[in-house]
């Protein structure tokens, strides 16, 4: 006997797409229908198989680069260029003057250059980690396995926490080198995206709190208890900010 529901509602149930009443109703049906119970087991195996299969194919980094460089450039003042074109030499001269002045009077801009170098080193490290076999030295979703792994390998042991319940499951950790210094890297997943959080002692090289986008990857840095953290990912800046808040709260 073929039960019709095994080809319809069963799938809505497996996919979590039935409303609460519909799900309860179907569960009651499951108790009395061997056909559907068997089909449910089959579907769950199939789903598990597909989701754990690493069939997901990520875009190669070169493609991202190609797309970024082929997007038409969007100069800031395209629209006004026609009517105020006589103004541009003056504006250019003024901004040149301003940058000279600010270079002389605001030594902070040197820090900005340093921040840019560090950010690009961090994005490079993130990209290296995405090469096959480079993501983790210790692969574990258990914070009590990952944290002790760092013991004795670095001057400081980074705080390690799994945020699976908050949507950022821990994947593992590794040692990495960023801008010449050895740092801890904690690896999290965000849906299909990877997030690397680099951690080092603030005294070894401070990266002021900030965020930005580099080669299409987003980074965000923050400090806590003498440590500097910098997260980098191709997930959205909002996702990254969420993870930062989790780090700051725990």
């Amino acid at each position: 006997m073929k039960c019709e529901l095994s080809e319809t509602l069963l799938h809505g149930y497996v996919d979590g797409e039935l409303d609460a009443a519909g799900a309860v109703h179907f569960e009651r049906h499951l108790e009395s229908c061997a056909e559907c119970a068997g089909a449910l087991a089959r579907e769950q195996i199939l789903r598990q198989t597909l989701q754990s299969s690493s069939l997901y194919e990520r875009a190669p980094h070169s493609l991202r680069q190609r797309i970024l460089s082929s997007l038409p450039a969007a100069p800031e003042s395209q629209r006004t260029a026609g009517s105020f074109s006589w103004l541009w030499p003056a504006v250019a001269a003024a901004s040149l003057l301003f940058s000279i002045l600010s270079w002389q009077f605001f030594p902070g801009s040197g820090r900005q250059a340093q921040q840019a170098t560090l950010a690009s080193a961090i994005v490079d490290a993130h990209l290296r980690s995405l090469q096959p076999g480079h993501l983790t030295d210790v692969a574990s979703t258990d914070q009590h396995t990952v944290k002790p792994w760092f013991d004795g390998k670095l001057e400081v042991v980074p705080p390690v926490q799994d945020f699976a319940n908050e949507g950022f499951p821990l994947i593992g950790g590794r040692l990495d080198i960023v801008d010449g210094r050895t740092v801890a890297a904690l690896v999290y997943a965000r849906r299909k995206h990877i997030v690397n959080v680099f951690v080092w002692r603030a005294q070894d090289g401070n990266l002021p709190s900030g965020s930005g986008t580099e080669q299409g990857y987003h980074w965000s840095s923050w400090q806590r208890e003498g440590l500097t953290f910098c997260g980098v990912t191709d997930a959205s800046p909002a996702d990254l900010d969420e993870l930062k808040q989790l780090f700051l709260q725990h």
Partner: protein, 177 residues
């Protein structure tokens, strides 16, 4: 022409979904090289149309464009492909048991072949649901089909895949002949 702010907004809201775009293109076109070309074309097109996109689900919006580009590409390069209808009847495979399914599924290559041999409309719902984790609502939006038909489309696609997985492997079968 998009302004600088639009470009930043594009890089922050659409570009993060490049993996999703590439993955869908890879499975629709069954080839990484072609998928790179078509994904790039789709991203450029998305950039051109970005002025019309205001808010909402950027991933679904991008995947819809990717899908259109893929079908256009398939029509041009493999015109015979799109003829299969989703409601075609499938008989369950004889050797289909949970055990045989689990064993076949452990083999990534075999799983890839099984998925690749399904007609494109089956492949796309499976990839969107199982690999991309899209909701029925998102799948309906991306594939321009009524939301009520997503469930049955998935049911047929899964049945097809199970059958392809538990049938004697065509590649091995050919060797035996």
């Amino acid at each position: 022409m998009l302004g600088r702010e639009d470009r930043i907004r594009f890089e922050q809201s659409v570009l993060p979904h490049l993996d999703a775009a590439f993955n869908l293109a890879r499975w629709l076109l069954r080839n990484r090289g072609d998928a790179e070309d078509v994904a790039q074309e789709a991203l450029l097109r998305a950039y051109q149309f970005f002025g019309t996109y205001r808010a909402g689900d950027a991933r679904a919006w991008l995947l819809q464009i990717v899908r259109n580009c893929c079908y256009t590409w398939l029509k041009k390069n493999h015109p015979s492909e799109n003829s299969v209808e989703l409601d075609e009847e499938v008989m369950p495979g004889e050797r289909e048991t949970p055990e045989s399914l689990a064993i076949a599924g452990n083999d990534r290559e075999r799983l890839t072949r099984a998925l690749d041999q399904l007609p494109a409309p089956f492949r796309e719902v499976l990839v969107l649901r199982e690999l991309e984790g899209c909701s029925y609502k998102e799948i309906a939006a991306i594939t321009s089909r009524p939301i009520g038909s997503v469930m049955s489309a998935l049911a047929r696609a899964r049945q097809r895949l199970r059958k392809a997985l538990t049938q004697p492997d065509t590649k091995e079968a050919r060797h035996e002949v």
